[in-house]
Amino acid sequence: MTTADRVSELLDGVKRPVREITSPEGVKLNVQTASRWERMTAFLLDVTFLSLAIILIYSVGLVLFFTRLNLSIGLTFISFVAFVVRNMYFLHFELAWQGRTPGKKICGIRVVSRNGGELTPTALIARNLMRDVEFFLPMTLFLSLGEQSGWSSLAELGWTIALTALPFFNRDRMRAGDIIAGTIVIKMPKRTLLDDLASAPRQRGEAGYSFTPAQLAVYGAFELQVLEELLRRKQTPRVDSILSDVCAKICRNIGVEEAVPPQNVRKFLNDFYASERDMLEHGQLFGLYKDDKNSPDRKI
């Protein structure tokens, strides 16, 4: 588990299964697999959009054909269009929007290639052909229950339910289509680049806090990044009280006797953060990595 994941787990309580994919350049990228809940929501949204589209096609078509042409041709034409729309909806959007459908876009998830290669049209075709068997077939079976003899329909139903429930039985939450196509669905929040805390502008002539190497050697990268997250939070009374607790604790641990006045807490922590990061990054340049306060320096 990387330091970044430990920090998220501590502060936000999120624990997502992470999967590593290797880009063609050989860089490992950590991706979070989308949760089953997100995927279900995305799918239900898509089915809703699809149904709305088909209803729209039928109503527009019916109005048009009732007035102009004979009914059976009209109906056929409409059902052909609806058939095409139903079968091409997912494929079209996943091709045009880099592995996203409208529902996936809303949920912030997308399809990527499992081994880090290119996401090919054939992979998208494969995963969407399977969709018919995974979802639309069980639906038809379910609707036609009772038409056939009990045992055979029960067996079919059991089989398809097992297939549909496949995402619950593997770590990457792949459905049958994903397995065949070699894809996974990942969650991808969009992040923004914030200002660097260590180079925050300071008023001229203002004295900052300074620390000795011994004081800075107490903490490691994990604590540094927790501190960074806390400092980046929006200023509220609650965050302020957390910060002053943190400040008091740091002072105790590194042996700073004089108390930090409340109005200087942020400034103290900011300076401590900058100095700590300077030292840890300096160490990293020479191959010394300190994970957290409990672990010794690790040579990399």
Partner: protein
Amino acid sequence: MRYGAAQGGKSGELTLRSAEFRAAREDGWIKLDRMVTRVEDGGIGVLSASESEEITLLYRSAVSSLSVARNIALDRNMLLYLENLTLRAYLVVYGPRSGMSGSMAEFFRRGWPRAVRSVRRQLAVIALVFFVGAAAGFMIVRADVENFNLFVSERMSQGRGPDSTREELLGGEIFAPWKGFTEMFVVFANSLFRHNTMVGILCFGLGFMLGVPTIILIASNGASLGAFLALHSDKGLALDFICWLSIHGVTEIAALLLMGAAGLLVAQNIIFPGRLSRLESLARAGHSAAVAAIGCIAMFFIAGIIEGGFRQLIANTAGRLVFAAVTGLLWACYFIFAGGKRRDDSR
């Protein structure tokens, strides 16, 4: 040595190496970010030719920034941002490049015939299953015409059965009256297409269940074909029936068998993954299987039009036979020769 801001310096400011690193590259990241956002909102088409080239370069430099940053920087926000940006850019750069129409053209020119060639062994197996099913159906119904109902459901027989007379079969089926251009070409052809496509997709998808349902489906389709043949030969209409069926059946049955063969390829890679892991082998086979299968939808479309329209338009047995032979020959040539060199792999 002391770390901290109070030790002097120009304005009392601490300059970290990672901050310098960031300052030097930030502009490129932000430019890349903007481009990626545009593509995410509007599709790959929003980039001009020079921009598509530029985005690749910017992506490569972001990748190298990320690997450096992982080694020298501890700024969590920057690391996460860079990782996120690289991933987003990676998905644009290595995402699907062509839309629907571009993919289609390439597909029919090369991808599909190659994929079909790559499932030829499975196709042979599936064809065997189909013909064994057909032979079984034929023999059993031949022995006793009453067995016809075992193989053909009421919905499928539409009134045809052991009790049908020769005249009924000839007038109501083989040389059924022409109901008018639109009724046949549009309405009937369309419903046939939709039905057949769904059956075909099932044949393929059920390969995932180790191929057992695929084989059952193909065999039972074969059996009902055999049953029909036996019924007609009982009334002395064997040749007429074969021609009536094969005019579109060449295309339709070929497509059905291809779908089944693709399903079988999937099943084969689940059961015998070979040297690869099961998942890996499945992902590889899945590609050529899916390509082979999706093209069959086009075949079903053509078969639907032939069955719905041309079949009753060409109201004589010899004409139908010629038509069937020509379509069969065309398909064979296309699958054997289109798309360049013989290759086992569609990729």
